[in-house]
Each structure stands twice: as structure tokens, then as C-alpha cells.
Amino acid sequence: MADTPETVPLPAPEERERLTRIQIDRSCRQTVVWYYASAVFWLLVGSALALIASLKMHTPGFLADWEWLTFGRARPAHLAAMIYGWGSMAGVGTLLWLQARLTRNRLPFPTLLPATAVIWNLTVAFGVVAILAGYSTSIEWIEIPPSTAILFGFCIAAIIAASIRMFRSRESKHTYVSQWYLFGAIFWFPLLYVSAQLFLHTPAAKGAVKAAANWWFAHNVLGLWFTPIGLATVYYLIPKVIGRPVHSYHLSLLGFWSLAIFYNWAGTHHLIGGPLPAWLITVGIVGSVMMFVPVVTVAVNHHLTMVGHFHHLKYSPTLRFIVYGAMCYTAVSFQGSLQSLRSVNEISHFTHYTIAHAHLGVYAFFTMVMFGAIYYVAPRLLNAEWHSAAWIRVHFWTTAVGMAIYWLGLTWAGWEQGKMMNDPRIPFLDIVRFTVPWLWSRSAAGVLMTIGHLSFAWLFWNMLRQRGAYLPGPTLLIRKDEPVAVGGGE
């Protein structure tokens, strides 16, 4: 970088900090832009597969003669593209940038890390194609072949090495709360993924216990991979955007450790009523109910941080997405705890209600937070402004409203479906016919969300070409001459 502090005569401390931050952000450019661009690509692939699967569900004749797109393949391919492609790649990009920021270090390994992005893409592509070609493992959330564990393991090892390296030469002696969550995520994910593949594909677990391993894994991908990355982002970006420290640091500490301890155990609530020992299911229920603790602490903390600053939602695209996501985190977790109670589960299990719940977690919470993060990070990496505020609005409203329709429709339909299923006098085909209009509502929601994703991809494409206004420094989203309403009496 040509303009190191030495070339500037006696830089004021404030100027020096600005330059350091520019350098940190620039050091992430290669790697994080690779991860983000790939994530956006997979978002589009995943959306296309989602629409196909959704349409097929109410109109089974649609594209029915293409075996590789039959519902039972398009659906897991959609999941793989979204979870391992979009979610994980957007998550890793954000995780690396956050750690560089938090430790005030440049991102190391400028060739290795972009190479991991390439490997990650190839792995996901291999997985998605394998599913469409009929090589799915038929184990939910981990349909992609077990050999992918080696490739993901390699990428994560490089990411762990980079994280440790940045952390060890950090400037401040404080470890910010986001950093804990990020350390949690990068150690949890490889342990989860590799041990799940072992339990599921070797005799390390047998028969019905494989189902327990399956749900231990699947639930924890959300709980110990996406959730910590999402919360780390929220804990950094809400205070940073509104310029106000987290309300209570004690609460964030409690929130982290209670999540680490309880979330781990929640997975077996997916097997209530199933053929596993009662104590195992009870443990899952207890873990799920105890999740009230971390969720309430996080919700209270974020709310109290935001109080008095809600008007910024009007001005900041990042904040809009992140606050929507944070609120949905609270909602999805409450819903999850309730759903694990036997009396609720008896109805909601095996229905579309669960599908709505899963999307509330992975989409309304995690995906929306990632959108917010990309809106914040990308301009700072590429020194360009987003080129159109209108498209950002389109993106926000289509995805926010689409998600709401999706959730309301399927939650209601699922609940009714469950009650009807538990009444043996109602013929099964009547239940099927009852759900069809609601499956249409899901497709309508999916179209809206896809429109949002296309506008986001369009914005991102123009960002890559730096079509927006040039930004000399990374924080000039507010023009210096413009009076900015800074709320709160800090």
C-alpha cells in the first residue's frame, strides 16, 4: 500500500486509525470478495432449485419427466446449495472480515484463503450435482457425499490457522464478544461435520442411533455454525452502525456460554415419538427449553442497545436487515423451544409447520443478517458505493414480505395439517387437498424472495464492477458535509 502512515506528515491519531482500517479492509478484498461472490452465485442456484421444488409440490406434473429434477432430488439439492453454498460461504467471508477488524490485523494468507474459496465452490458443486444425479445419501441436511468432509476440512483448517494467527498478534488485550462466537463457530463446524460423516457412514453408530447422530448434526449446523456467525455479526454491526456500545456486556457473556452449553443438546427433539430411548428425547427437550436463557439474554441486550436508535432503520440498509434478522432470531428460538414440548410436537411434527420454522431460522434470521453484513462490508472492500438505493429497497421489501408470507402460510397450514392427521376419521387425501392452496402461497412467497435475490445479485454485480460512486475512504457512506442525526445522549 503506497500511502502508509510514513508518507503522511505527522498524521493525527484519528487519521492514522482511518488508514489502518483501510488497510485492514483492503487486506480482506481478495478473499472475502471471492467468498461473497460465490455465495451470491449459490443463492441464485438455490433459489432456482427452491422454486422448482415448490412448484412441483402443488403441480406434480411440472418437469416431471426429468429424473434429475424430481422433487426428491431438487429439494435436497436446494438445501445443499443454500446451506453449504450460500450460507456457509457468506458466513466464512463475514467471519474472516470480522476477525481482521476485531484483532486489527490484516488478513493473512492472501493466496491460500482465496484458494479455499475455490475449493469450497468445487465441493459444493460436486455435492449438488451428486444429489441431482442420484447419489444423495438420503440423510437430511447432509445429503452430500462423505468425501466432501476432507475438502471442507482442509478449507476450515486454513481458516482456523488464519484466525489463530490474527488473534495471536492482536493489538487490544480485550476479546470482543463477537470473537468468542467466531471461535465457537470455526471449531464447532469441522468437529460436527467430520464426526457426523463418521457416525453416519461407518459402523461407529448403528441403525436407529444414526438418526440421533443425524439430528445432532442437522440441528447443530444451525445452532453451532450459522447462529454464532450470525450473532457475532449482530453484536459487531448493531453497535458499529448506530455508534453505541452493546448495552450489557455481562449479558452477552451469559448469552454465549448458555448457548454453547444448551444448543448442543437440542437436536433430538426432532425424534419425539420416535423409536429411541425416552431419556434421549427428554434430554433434547430439556436442551431446547433451556435455550430460553441465551435467547432472552441476546434479545434483551440487542433491544436495549437499539432503544432510542430505531430511526436509523430508515437510513441504514445494513441495520434494517440485521435488526429484522435479530428479531427473527428471538422469534425462531421461542418457536423452537415451544415446538419441542410434547403436546405441541404431537401436532407440529411431520408437517409443513417444521419447514416454516426451519426457514425462519436459516432465512429470516441468518440470511437476512448476512445480507446486512454484505451491505456493510462490500463497499469497504471495493471502495465503491452501492449503485442504487432503490434496488436495495426492492431487495429488502421483497425478501421481508416474502418471508412473512412463507412463514404465515406454512405455519398455519402445517398446524391444521397436524390436527387433521391426528384425527383418524379424516381421509388422508382430504388433508393433502387442504394443504394445496397453502403450497401455492409458498410458491408466491418464493417468487417474491427470488425477485429480491435477483436485485441483490444485480447490486452485487455492479459493486464488483465498481459502478457506484467512488469512495476514497471506507467510512464515507455519510458525506462529511451532511448533518447526521445521531440519536441517544452518549
Binding site: 491519531p13 484519528e14 487519521e15 486509525e17 482511518r18 482500517r21 477488524r101 476485531l102 487490544s172 480485550h174 476479546t175 470482543y176 464478544v177 459487531y236 453497535p239 458499529k240 452502525v241 448506530i242 455508534g243 453505541r244 456500545p245 452493546v246 456486556y249 455481562h250 452477552s252 457473556l253 436509523h312 437510513y315 441504514s316 440498509p317 445494513t318 441495520l319 451491505y375 456493510y376 458505493e385 452501492w386 449503485h387 442504487s388 438505493a389 432503490a390 436495495i392 459502478r467 457506484g468 460512486a469 467510512t475 457512506l477 455519510i478 458525506r479 447526521v484 445521531v486 441517544g488 452518549e490
Partner: protein, 61 residues
């Protein structure tokens, strides 16, 4: 089987107790002091507390 469950409960108790011990130890060592400072650590002179750092982009485009 009974011995197995006894061992299980013993192990659970042991784990719980060591978690509490670790917490007490960490508090004694001052790991939880200066929490306020830690929450300020993401701000600096150039992006101080009170500065808003994100806004809808200019609508010239």
C-alpha cells in the same frame, strides 16, 4: 446397568462441578473485570461512539 447409570450421574455431577469451579476461578482471576472497556473496544478515535457508519447510498445513481 445400574452401575452404568450411577457412573453416568457421577460423571454428569463431576462435569457440572468442574464447570462451576472454572467459573469461580475465572472470576477470581479477574477475567470478568473491565467488561465495559471490552464493549468499547470496537470503537476508536476515528469511528468513535456516537458516529453512525452506515447509510443508504446517495441517490444520484
Amino acid at each position: 446397568m445400574a452401575a452404568f447409570y450411577l457412573a453416568l450421574w457421577g460423571l454428569a455431577g463431576l462435569l457440572g462441578a468442574s464447570a462451576i469451579a472454572a467459573l469461580v476461578w475465572a472470576i477470581r482471576r479477574g477475567e470478568f473485570d473491565q467488561l465495559r472497556e471490552a464493549s468499547q473496544s470496537i470503537f476508536d478515535d476515528e469511528e468513535p461512539v456516537g458516529k453512525v457508519t452506515d447509510r443508504f447510498p446517495d441517490k444520484r445513481f
